[in-house]
Symmetry: C2
Subunit: 359 residues, 2 copies
Amino acid sequence: MPKKIFFTPGPSALYYTVEEHIKSALKAQIPEISHRSTTFQAIYEEAVTNLRELLALPGNFHIAFVASATEIWERLIQNLVVDHSLHLVNGAFSKRFGEISAELGRKVSVYQSEEGQVPLIKDISADEAPELVAITQNETSTGVHFPQENVKALRERFPDAILAMDVVSSIPTTIDFDSIDSFYFSVQKCFGLPAGLGVWIYNDRCLNKAETIREGTQSIGSYHALPKLHASGLKNQTPETPNVLNIFLLAKVARDMLDKGLDMIIRETNYKSAVLYQMLEQHAKLSPFVKDKALRSKTVIVADVDGDSSTIIDPISKKGMIIGTGYGPHKKSQIRIASFPTHSKEQIELLADQIALLS
Amino acid sequence: MPKKIFFTPGPSALYYTVEEHIKSALKAQIPEISHRSTTFQAIYEEAVTNLRELLALPGNFHIAFVASATEIWERLIQNLVVDHSLHLVNGAFSKRFGEISAELGRKVSVYQSEEGQVPLIKDISADEAPELVAITQNETSTGVHFPQENVKALRERFPDAILAMDVVSSIPTTIDFDSIDSFYFSVQKCFGLPAGLGVWIYNDRCLNKAETIREGTQSIGSYHALPKLHASGLKNQTPETPNVLNIFLLAKVARDMLDKGLDMIIRETNYKSAVLYQMLEQHAKLSPFVKDKALRSKTVIVADVDGDSSTIIDPISKKGMIIGTGYGPHKKSQIRIASFPTHSKEQIELLADQIALLS
């Protein structure tokens, strides 16, 4: 049976080179080596070096490996917030981050837009003074993009806060390092790796803040406290036995992406999203959920369905292509299509053609 | 080049069926499926069912999947200790657990034996009333085994405390469920899987205690708070996107171990450890680090080396067999040999013969 193509928004299709890299890893016995060996340190260094180059990371930004983006939400709060975080909510995942902060006992301010839009800076109460401001660049649940000019405006409004951005379904992309202090992602979406690894990128401000909190009475956690992750990272190691295989795969896929070129990846992403949105605009039963074009995610495309989402999902599935349901309450009324770096222009064109036939 | 055989105490050799299971997983596109799909739920259920059978788990014990045994240390303290934990230390890892509790702001009592021994219950101060007592069945750093009768005595001494046992390098084995409330392991040692998954087993007492703490003012964490893990587990899901591939592999390897039979695994473990200790007793340059035979781990065998550990490790490595250095300060003065279920009797005999030749 030919393999299915997963256009689901995470986990999604593996990056097209991953299967070969897994076979190489098994041949080289990577899962069997010690995480304290020089062989592992070389793999760690390769992953960090390739990611730094791919993301054009400035010297004051650092990379740590944890288990998931969900873990990073918890670590951001533990390490960077004594009392108060502020969350701009453009979908279910940005909302969930706020809930995690509350579960950890912090005071939480939540600004939520109407569905399909983003909360505006001008709506934020004048007396807010959060230690951390959380935004989500591309919401995987709604396909709502948080525009770069809004990020810049947030930085101006909160110059002293840590600005943390979820890039879980937008990376690799260009990042405005002057506006952002931390950004993070899990690897099973845009990087097309098996799930089980989170990548946390943070600058010196974050590290200093964590060290300052640690000097007080509040715990910043234990094995994954930021200063501990940072100190281990300087030795190309992790505090615990990590997901060695995934760090190896990340090193390899980041290299493959570098060989292709970030410019090319971004150009293709633009083209593929144009194909998908154009199809949706012309479709009798489908329409883009996000009306404002400036707010449309180019990597997770969400559409309202006239009728039940299964009337689109099921026939497409029979063609060997798996697309996502709507998220949460929209499960039956929306579809979600991932257009990640592993998805070729031809695959997206084929998918768009097949969905168009269901008009 | 023929593959090396890893006798290192973790990560160690992959279970001999793992490579084929990884290939099957790729063929079935397991890393690409949604962690909210019924396909994933079936995999989760299979892993739990097989583990329950392998460990002969009673109905009041439950299984949760997290990222590592190190994470489980943090979650045990967050969820089960408001104020005070007590740690019986027989090596570096049991010691580290105590440090994690302290980093999380708890009061910590540590009872540490002389090296190569276990702390005795009679040495514990009469006024100790910890909420959690931590023990390590087989210390991976020292090869010191914590005997079952001492566990029983601990239960009598602390009937109201949670007794938590690290079984990271002893599982699968028979567990005295009347003495223990929680036990846990990571999968890269005895189960021979790639690293990146921790298995936390807990009984209803643990769950009740976590729920009681949650009702107070202290946070029990967020996405991996025990009640949340438990509620997700009842739906055969995890709160976050987990290491799907490893949960799949765990289901398969647990089934392979069941097919072999726990009795057979234990019998072989006994035989293999006898071969190794006998070789050590007769060796001119090596001697078992643990003198008391009742305290000798059968899965991680630690030996003092007369001279530098490299004089043993290097020539054995040239034969294609990788054994571990000593841990921490003993790096150059000891060797560590893992004898896990994946290591066949023939492999252990071969290793023992080759080391004996270095006498």
